[in-house]
Symmetry: D2
Subunit: 390 residues, 4 copies
């Protein structure tokens, strides 16, 4: 008999750790899962900070050794929210220890890592989720439902951007170090690649340009450090269906704070979303009456995805509730109460996104159009040996 | 020595109860107060529903008699989130029992009720807060800071709207019954009156029109019931400073979900906010360089009010966090760690808003301009006797 | 037999004169009228400036005496675009001379003037048009067509604003002088009153507040002059149908350039327009499919009103083409080729708008709700005597 | 001594002919040129239609042989607004006949054609202009002025789109025939390439994908015809400065009517424009005060480019006035009264844009990154022989 609570071991307590912990608490109050959640153990690097965050976020225990969290017998789910260089090693260890795993994106630093993670997940038979959380924004969920229902016809165009401007003032950190992060803007903003796959399907090939506008940055200690990843990229491409792809991501677009947008043009309609207008969806549907035009849907009505849990119509939701909605399905799957929602990205989705990440990088380097299936990794062995000593 | 936790007794578990409980949990995880909060007891009318909500919202106990919650010795704060006809009786009882009180808006059903509440609050010496929560939306807080800093000069115009459309399909309920709710759209949307006072100052006089477009509604049992409050109103007026006032609220504006907006035009600039674009503030400031125009500020940066508690720039917040921000200041005041923030509305603000509510109603009835100070109540005795038997 | 050309005598060559002359030229190139137009004579006050403008605008002759233009036998239409204090005297003289008359708004300085203009027009049997040009903005025309077709149901709310900010920096001129202009913001922005009548019907009563924020201004010679009209007003009111009215106009709203907006909420839908987004119309219609929401119609498609004359879809039009569309119908009526379009405002519309203007002023002065039918003029005799000596 | 009028010979009376003729008339009324314009002769293919349009547009004569217009001694400027396959032959003939030439975009069907046009122009010493009219939209002119003044710092990103949806319902016509048009979406929307060059500088290299979603269309006679050009493309690229380029154009994006947009992100600010919001410019400038954010500038103030000719602030302009502004500078240059404005695109700009058009096409075909300087034409001889028989 399973215990009443699902114990969660969390690795990482930065931005993502806070967001996931917040979501797990909130879920209990808005849509209690079949088996309640217990935040069992938090693993971090720095003892003082980990202790403080464990207390604040409501964890029962904390540790500076993620292996303890993974080895803990009571823990059923490992939430792997650590920097990218710990994604593979922690997730694989957790799966091998029989845990269900939720891992932040990008799944691996390259498709070799993510493929090994996927293989471990499949072998384990456990629930595996890659936290492409935007699938669970109500407006995005509605978009996906409308596309799947054929309301815009067959997609012919997908364009997405993720533009920010923090790159102009950020000190050197792991996000600028290829060794630790894999890629820069390409993988960091893998959300747009996942959106493309989620809404339109598999990407067949890409061409691209990348740029590093600030080649050297001072770290916190004031030392000049070389930036080894791209600040920005632009890619064109084609889906297996023949639809065209346009992606652009940058950390260096002044005034753009979290300007993630996508637009899908179908044979009969169009759908557009912007993260900064989180609760709105712009739609033009096949069956619209005259005068036909975009509708500006405020996705806060009870019949919209996930909205019955929340407030009366018009009382807008924030970004962080994507995690609430995502965890709801994961927890029911872990509890055996329901299959993992089709909407949930798995390690397979993480791996496939990483293939596109790699293809974009290679296309830019090789100055040619690259098939996504050709983007299998070069650096697998190197990473593996590093991980064994992590 | 005060106990480590602040015990909270909550009356009401509808929309507002859920929102406040959610906020109190969240606050602990994002900005832990000096003394942690304990949700001690929840009072509701229906036993089954109260028990279920107490469990879901994380209360230790529940009761169907609000007097129990008020009488509970451990309870330090009573959160009065019940329907309007319980605002005065519960709040006054709680204050007389030595509790701090947070009461939802409108404070009373008429200025007589709210004045007695204010008198009880002042007599008690306890913290008293009227939950005009929008003061704690980051964009509104920034607006208020900019106005107070003189960045738009002396205000000459204030216009606000609160438009919704649920009135077209709602069954009869207490919101349509003058006996229980006091007024309809005027008091229900007292937020816009509070915004006017918060941003510009006291309102001197008003003229108005009201309308009840659907005079009869079926209740849940299918019986036709007379609607005894207004569905909508439009008011013009003048502030003590000479600035002009324009207010319009309606439950009957198709397509408007929670279209609360305000705009302040000053002698040197303008500020505008819309609830449905919760995280944005439109500003034109006195010191802007050419080309001068509205700026569209995404209020999600660390230097913006309350934002250092939350996510990286651009990751937008939802409506419900107004309550998190509001409770933070109330709890520090109750803990004696800081004075109640100047931003916080008190029972005095609730009473003054109710004076304007009453003046608008009287202006419409009497077909003349009415001074706000003339809006003292007629029905005080009647309400008092009803309350004693509630 | 009528001559091939319609000769036009124009009085006034300021902003309005330029706009009308431009429209008359343009009309010939985009939608040639049955009888071509000839700009016969331009009347202005200052000889040098009138001569220069006559040349630039393509007039055959010019004069500094408007009576010459009115007396000219070849002139068939007098376009009266002079300041308000010449509206009645010029229009009545022209009608008595058998001319068709197009007069700018507001028709008179008070309803007494406009009633006498209407009476002269009716007596003359000539075409009379009051230039409420926004009725001929394609988006407004579409709005009106949709309302008349019942696509939003019976209107219950009408709200409109006309906000500008030039008042903060304008020198004293005739717009600030009650003697010459009649009223300030109320009559100047009579467009919003006409929109209310055009889209919803007759206004029954109003209550209002007015303000003059800058009571004294320097004229061009640097002399301090008293401002004798209002800078701004706010009015509430009720239509004969029971619908509520909300109007606000101001010359003192920083950042607002020509912020004319209206919104009509009906029993089944909503329509909204903003002048600064001239080509867009926001609509929510009774027959919309889920997800229901506002549509943002770019009114540039061939099936939209007047658009078949212009450019391919999406190539947006400017404000000045309202006059092109308006003149098209007036010229066909003068040519006898078609009746005056129902869309065209006449002197009756001008008079009825002036009644509302007067009622708003009186409601503010008398601090009470005023019936529009009670707004008959006080100053008729005074004006009449002045005009006879003008 | 030059004659008082500048006689213009126009080839083509479709959409572009109407727009240019309208502009030439309007210019005379809003900002009379040093030497007035006379519409001397209109050349078209179909006699009945050419005669009708000549009359409507105010031409003195018409012809079905463009050579007549070119040979006419009085004609000083030839406005070449014919389909693309007449751009080179007509323009070169006109230049050789000593005429100044204004030619619509794209200049040639390939860079070979446009280079020969440029050579003829340089040899002739006449004024030559390529009608990239958007440079003369007031908001775009302001954008360009701000970029040149360094107000956003050195550009690092340029992204532009031109999306329309007429392709879903259009019959076969010359726009779908490579022989007549050169390219499809790439050249048709060469405006975005010109904007890139105008605002950021020369493009060094591109990678791209193209698609033809509807490979066969019925012509007006109902015959199925093969579409030999692309419906849409996506390109990434790099400027000589290192800035990144993102272009996407399509005739097949439902709901997009004339969705031309560009955004330039500089090292210190950002500028964005959208054609459908013709009069607005979004700017974030280096010297903005806190709270920093995009400003939404309504470009209708007298100090904005070209606005002193027009209406009071806020009275928005339409698309067609780009041509008025463009012609003003061309006419002064022809009159010898001023040099051709730096803002004006010449045949050199047309040729350089065509090089980018060709590079994008080749990159897509060859599936590799292509240097713009490698895009010299392959098909020059073929076109030349065809033209000699046109």
């Amino acid at each position: 008999m399973s215990p009443p609570h699902i114990d969660i071991g969390m690795v990482g307590h930065g931005f993502m750790g806070r967001a996931h912990a917040h979501a797990l608490h909130t879920l209990g109050h808005v849509a209690p899962p079949s088996r309640p959640v217990r935040l069992a153990v938090l693993a971090g690097r720095d003892p003082a900070r980990t202790e403080r965050m464990a207390r604040q976020l409501g964890f029962e225990r904390w540790t500076t050794d993620w292996r303890e969290a993974v080895a803990d017998e009571r823990v059923e789910i490992v939430a792997n929210l650590a920097p990218n260089d710990l994604h593979a090693v922690v997730s694989i260890a957790a799966l091998e220890a029989g845990k269900h795993v939720v891992c932040e994106k990008p799944l691996g630093r390259d498709p070799g890592e993510s493929r090994r993670m996927l293989e471990a997940a499949v072998t384990s038979g456990r629930v595996h989720a890659c936290s492409f959380n935007y699938r669970f924004a109500p407006a995005v969920a509605l978009a996906s439902d409308l596309v799947r229902a054929g309301r815009i016809g067959r997609p012919v165009h997908f364009r997405a951007q993720y533009l920010q401007d923090w790159g102009w003032r950020a000190p050197f950190g792991w996000h600028f170090d290829a060794e630790r992060t894999g890629t820069g803007a390409i993988g960091d903003y893998a959300h747009v690649i996942d959106m493309a796959r989620h809404l339109v399907g598999e990407i067949e090939e890409v061409a691209a340009h990348v740029a590093t506008f600030v080649p050297e940055r001072a770290d916190d200690a004031g030392r000049a450090r070389e930036v080894t990843v791209e600040d920005a990229y632009v890619a064109s491409g084609r889906f297996a269906t023949g639809a065209l792809l346009n992606l652009e991501c940058s950390r260096m677009a002044h005034g753009r704070k979290a300007h993630q947008t996508f637009e899908v043009n179908g044979e009969e309609g169009t759908i557009r979303w912007e993260l900064e207008d989180f609760n709105r969806l712009r739609v033009l549907l096949a069956d619209d009456a005259e005068p036909r035009s975009f509708r500006d849907v405020l996705v806060t009505e009870p019949q919209h995805p996930f909205l019955r849990w929340w407030w009366p119509t018009g009382h807008v939701l924030g970004w962080e509730h994507t995690f609430v909605h995502q965890w709801a399905g994961i927890l029911e799957a872990v509890a055996g109460a329901a299959p993992l929602p089709a909407r949930q990205a798995t390690f397979e989705d993480g791996w496939r996104a990483d293939l596109v990440v790699a293809a974009i990088g290679r296309a830019a380097r090789d100055r040619r159009t690259v098939a996504v299936t050709d983007a299998e990794p070069q650096r697998t062995h190197e990473h593996r040996s590093r991980e064994h000593h992590a």
